[in-house]
C-alpha cells in the first residue's frame, strides 16, 4: 500500500471496514448483553466470543443481541435465535445433554473416583496398622536409624 493511498483512505472515502455498532444500552441491560455476548462465538474469528472480538461481523452479532435484549427477550430465546441461524456451534459453552454430559461429568467423575481411592487407601492402612498394633511402617523397609546412613551410601554407590 502506498502512502498516498493510505492518506486518501485516512481523509477520503472513510476507510472503515469495521462497523461502528449501536450505542450501548443502559448499564443493567448492557451488562446482560455483554454476559450473553461472552457465550456466543464470533462466526469469523478463531474461538473468540462476540463480546471480545473487534471484527465487524461480531459487532453486528452483538448489535443483534442488543436488539433482542432491548425487546426483553429471555436468555433462552436469544440463544435459540442464534442456534437457529448458526447451529449449536455458536454456543461457546456446550449444552449439558446427550454426549456432552461426558464433557461436564468426566472431570468430576475422575476427581471423585480419585478421592475415593486415596481415602480407601489410607483407611486400609490405618486399619491394618491398628490390627498389627504398630505404626504402619513398611515390613521390608530398613528401620530409619542414623547408623544406616553409611549402609545406604554403600548401597547407593553399589547401584551406580
Amino acid at each position: 500500500m502506498t502512502f498516498a493511498l493510505l492518506v486518501s483512505l485516512l481523509l477520503g472515502q472513510g476507510y472503515a471496514p469495521q462497523r461502528q455498532g449501536l450505542d450501548p444500552l443502559e448499564a443493567e441491560k448492557e451488562a446482560r448483553v455483554m454476559r450473553l455476548g461472552k457465550q456466543l462465538r464470533c462466526a469469523v474469528c478463531q474461538g473468540v466470543s462476540i463480546a471480545d472480538s473487534p471484527a465487524s461481523m461480531a459487532r453486528a452479532q452483538l448489535d443483534k443481541v442488543r436488539e433482542l435484549v432491548a425487546e426483553n427477550k429471555s436468555d433462552e430465546e436469544i440463544y435459540a435465535y442464534f442456534i437457529e441461524r448458526y447451529g449449536e456451534w455458536v454456543l461457546l459453552q456446550p449444552t449439558t445433554g446427550g454426549l456432552n454430559s461426558v464433557l461436564w461429568l468426566g472431570p468430576v467423575a475422575l476427581l471423585g473416583v480419585g478421592l475415593i481411592i486415596i481415602v480407601m487407601q489410607s483407611k486400609r492402612r490405618a486399619a491394618a496398622s491398628a490390627a498389627a498394633g504398630a505404626p504402619a511402617t513398611t515390613p521390608a523397609g530398613p528401620a530409619p536409624t542414623s547408623d544406616d546412613a553409611l549402609l545406604a551410601q554403600v548401597r547407593a554407590d553399589l547401584e551406580q
Binding site: Q46, S49, Q93, D148
Partner: protein, 692 residues
C-alpha cells in the same frame, strides 16, 4: 550453496541420531556398557550438525538468499535485521529446524553433564532421547524440509507473518516455549530408561527431577510471555483465551508440576514410583500432542500460521510413543514396588496426593475440552464449540482447590499430624485469610474505596457469583492464607537459628535457606504462583470496560480514568504503515499522559496482510493498567471508536516471572557436599533405593 550445505548437515544429523538411538538401545538392553562412548560421540555429532544447520539458515536469511525455499517464504529486504533473524522460527519449516537445534543443545548439555556416569545408567536414556531426535531430524529432512531449492529465485520475498513483527516479545516467547517443549524429551528419556531397566533409585531420580525442572521453567516463562504478548498485541483486552494451542502448552506444564510434587513423596516414602514415572512420560506425550495441535492445522487458532501437512507423520509418531509408554508401564511397571503406603490424607504426602489428583483432573478437563469438538464431529457429525466459558467454569474450582492445597501442604508434616499442633498452626494464616475478605467485600459494595477503579453497581448475590466477583474475593482470602503460610515456612528455620546461635536475621536466613535449597526455592515459586492467581482473579473480576465513538477533543470515562481523543495521525516504517489515534489518558488526580503516533493505539498495515492489525495502548502501572484499543476510525469525519479497560493488578502475572526464575534457580543450584550437610540433609533410609 546454502541449501546444499544446510540440507547435508540435516542428513548428517539424522544419521548421527539414528546411530545413537540404535546403538544406545541395543547395547543398553544387552548390557554392553563399553559402547557408551560411541553413543556419546554420535550425540555430539547430532548436536553439532543441527546447530550448524541452523546457523547456515540464519546466514541465508541475513544474505536474503531467496534460492532457499524457506527464505523465499519468510524473507524480505524491508524487514529489520532483528526480525529477519527471528523469522527463523516464524513459520513451520524454520521452527522445526530450530526445534532440532534446541534438541541438539539439550542432548549435548545432558551428555556432557553426565559424561562420567556409568553406561548402565546412560545408554538407555540417551538411546530413547536419540530416538526422539531421529524422528525430528527425519521431519526436517523430509516432510518439513526448509532447505528446498527455488529454481528461479525472486529478488525479494513477502517477509514474516505481520503478527510476529508487531512486538518485541515475539523474539523471546517462541524460543522459551520450544525450550520447554523440547526439554521434556530429557526426562522422558530418563524415565523410559528407568523403566526399560526396571529400577528407580536415586541415581535415576536426581537427574530426572533436575531435568524436568529446567524445561518446566522455560515452559512457565514461555506461557506467561505468550499471554503477555496476546495482551499487548492482539488488542481485545485479554491474555488467555483457552485457545487450543494455549491449552497445548498448559497441559504438559500441569503434569510436569504434578511430577515435581509427587517426586517428593517418591524420595521420602519410596512410593508413587509408577505414578511419578507415568507423569514424566505423560508430560512428554502431551508436548508432542501439543506440537501436533499447533502444527497440523486440525485446530484453527491464532497460531495457525504454522499449519502444514506434517500432521499424518506426527500422528504416527504420537501413536508409536503412546504404545511404547503403555507397553513399558504394563510390562515393566511391576518392578517399581512401593516401599510404603499412605497412612492418612491429613499429611504432607496425603496433600501432595490430592494435589496430584487435582492437577491431573485439570489436565484431563483441558484435554477433553480441547478435543471434544473433534469427537462430536466424528461421532455425531455435529459441530460444537467448547470455549472460554466452559474452561473457566471447570478450571475455577480446581484452581481454587490447588491454591488452598498450596497453603495446606507445607503446613502438614510427613506421616501423622498432631491435630492440636495443626489447629494452632492454622489459626494465624486462616484468620488473616478471612480478614482479607473484609475490605474486598466492603470495597465491592462501595463502602470503602481506597483502591479505586471498581464499579459500585452490584446486582445481588446471583449476578455477583456469575461475574466471578465472590469467587475473586474468596481467591484473595485463600491467597493471603497461602502467602502467610509460605512466608512462615520460609522464615521459621531462620528464626530458630537466631534463637539458638544468636545469628543476625540475614545470616540465619541465608544459612537456613541454603540448607534446604529445594524446599526454599519451591516456596519462592509458590509466592510467584500466588501472585499470578491473584492477578488473574482481580483483573478478570474487577475490570472496568467502556466503548465509545469520539470526535477529536471528546473524552470517555473508564473507571477512574478518562481517555481524550486528540485526532488521527499516520506514519510509515520500512515494513509497515500505520494510522494512530492520538489520545490523552487522564488519571484520577487529573494528571495527563499524552500518547502520540507510534505510542498511541493504532492500526498497522502490512504489505502481506489485507486486514489492518491493531496495536493497543497499554499504560502499565504497578497496581493497574489502562488499556485502550482503537477499533475503527473515520478519516473523513475525524472520529475514532475505542475500547478501553482498566485492569487491576494484571501486570503481576508477568511481574511474577522473576520469582519463578529465582525460585527454580535456587532449587537447581548444586548442593555443596560438606560432611555436615550430608548428615543434615540425608535422612538415612533415603539413599537405599531401587528394587534391584
Amino acid at each position: 550453496m546454502n541449501s546444499t550445505l544446510g540440507y547435508g548437515l540435516v542428513l548428517l544429523g539424522l544419521g548421527f541420531a539414528a546411530f545413537a538411538a540404535v546403538v544406545g538401545l541395543v547395547t543398553g538392553m544387552t548390557r554392553r556398557e563399553n559402547a557408551l562412548p560411541w553413543v556419546q560421540r554420535a550425540v555430539y555429532g547430532f548436536a553439532g550438525s543441527m546447530i550448524l544447520s541452523n546457523l547456515v539458515m540464519v546466514k541465508a536469511l541475513l544474505e536474503h538468499d531467496f534460492s532457499v525455499k524457506y527464505v523465499s517464504q519468510v524473507g524480505s529486504k524491508a524487514t529489520p535485521t532483528i526480525f529477519t533473524i527471528v523469522s527463523l522460527w516464524s513459520a513451520l519449516e524454520g521452527s522445526i529446524l530450530f526445534w532440532g537445534a534446541i534438541m541438539g543443545a539439550y542432548l549435548l548439555a545432558f551428555t556432557l553433564t553426565y559424561r562420567r556416569e556409568h553406561g548402565r545408567y546412560m545408554q538407555l536414556s540417551l538411546g530413547v532421547m536419540a530416538a526422539v531426535a531421529t524422528f525430528f531430524a527425519f521431519l526436517i529432512a523430509g516432510p518439513a524440509n526448509p532447505w528446498g531449492v527455488v529454481p528461479n529465485p525472486l529478488s525479494d520475498g513477502p517477509g514474516p507473518n505481520p503478527l510476529l513483527q508487531n512486538h518485541v516479545l515475539m523474539i523471546i516467547h517462541p524460543p522459551m516455549l520450544y525450550l520447554g517443549y523440547v526439554g521434556m524429551t530429557v526426562p522422558f528419556g530418563i524415565a523410559a530408561g528407568a523403566l526399560l531397566r526396571g529400577e528407580l533409585g536415586d541415581a535415576w531420580l536426581v537427574p530426572l527431577r533436575k531435568w524436568t525442572l529446567v524445561p518446566w521453567l522455560f515452559l512457565s516463562v514461555g506461557i506467561i510471555l505468550g499471554s503477555w504478548w496476546a495482551y499487548a498485541v492482539l488488542g481485545w483486552g485479554g491474555y488467555w483465551a483457552w485457545d487450543p494451542v494455549e491449552n497445548a502448552s498448559f497441559m504438559p506444564w500441569l503434569t510436569a508440576t504434578a511430577f515435581m510434587h509427587s517426586t517428593m513423596v517418591l524420595e521420602r516414602k519410596k512410593s508413587l514410583k509408577l505414578w511419578t514415572i507415568a507423569l514424566a512420560l505423560g508430560s512428554f506425550v502431551l508436548t508432542i500432542i501439543g506440537t501436533f495441535m499447533t502444527r497440523s492445522g486440525v485446530f484453527n487458532s491464532v497460531h495457525s500460521f504454522t499449519q502444514s501437512d506434517i500432521g499424518p507423520t506426527f500422528l504416527v509418531f504420537i501413536a508409536v510413543v503412546l504404545v511404547f509408554c503403555v507397553l513399558l508401564l504394563t510390562v515393566r511397571g511391576h518392578l517399581l514396588v512401593a516401599e510404603s503406603h499412605l497412612e492418612t490424607v491429613v499429611s504432607r504426602e496425603g496433600s501432595i496426593l490430592v494435589n496430584n489428583l487435582v492437577f491431573v483432573a485439570l489436565t484431563f478437563t483441558v484435554l477433553l475440552g480441547t478435543l471434544f469438538p473433534l469427537v462430536t464431529e466424528a461421532l455425531q457429525n455435529k459441530k460444537i464449540s467448547v470455549g472460554e466459558p466452559y474452561f473457566n467454569t471447570m478450571a475455577l474450582p480446581l484452581g481454587l482447590l490447588m491454591l488452598f492445597l498450596m497453603g495446606v501442604g507445607p503446613m502438614l508434616p510427613w506421616g501423622k499430624a498432631d491435630p492440636k499442633v495443626l489447629k494452632q498452626q492454622f489459626l494465624i494464616p486462616g484468620g488473616l485469610g478471612v480478614l482479607t475478605l473484609l475490605p474486598v467485600v466492603l470495597w465491592r459494595y462501595g463502602a470503602w474505596e481506597p483502591l479505586g477503579g471498581g464499579e459500585k453497581t452490584f446486582g445481588g448475590f446471583a449476578s455477583a457469583m456469575r461475574s466471578g466477583d465472590v469467587m475473586a474475593a474468596i481467591t484473595f482470602g485463600v491467597g493471603t492464607f497461602v502467602t502467610v503460610v509460605t512466608l512462615r515456612e520460609m522464615f521459621l528455620p531462620a528464626q530458630q537459628r537466631m534463637a539458638e546461635s544468636k545469628e543476625s536475621l540475614f545470616t540465619a536466613f541465608v544459612a537456613s535457606a541454603s540448607r534446604a535449597r529445594r524446599r526454599f526455592g519451591g516456596y519462592v515459586v509458590h509466592l510467584g504462583i500466588v501472585a499470578i492467581i491473584l492477578a488473574v482473579a482481580a483483573s478478570s473480576a474487577y475490570k472496568v470496560a467502556a466503548e465509545r465513538t469520539l470526535k477529536a477533543g471528546e473524552a470517555m470515562k473508564v473507571g477512574d480514568y478518562s481517555v481524550r481523543f486528540d485526532g488521527l495521525a499516520n506514519g510509515k516504517e520500512p515494513h509497515r504503515e500505520w494510522v494512530a489515534a492520538n489520545i490523552t489518558v487522564i488519571g484520577p488526580g487529573g494528571e495527563e499522559r499524552r500518547h502520540i503516533g507510534a505510542d498511541a493505539p493504532r492500526m498497522n498495515y502490512y504489505e502481506r496482510s489485507n486486514d489492518p492489525i491493531g496495536s493497543p495502548l497499554v499504560q502499565e502501572m504497578v497496581w493497574r493498567d489502562v488499556y485502550v484499543s482503537l477499533r475503527t476510525y473515520d478519516g473523513k469525519a475525524q472520529t475514532a471508536t475505542f475500547n478501553a479497560w482498566v485492569f487491576p493488578l494484571v501486570g503481576w502475572i508477568w511481574y511474577a516471572i522473576p520469582l519463578l526464575v529465582l525460585g527454580t534457580l535456587i532449587a537447581l543450584w548444586p548442593q555443596r557436599k560438606t560432611a555436615a550437610a550430608v548428615k543434615a540433609e540425608a535422612p538415612a533410609p533415603n539413599a537405599a533405593t531401587g528394587t534391584t
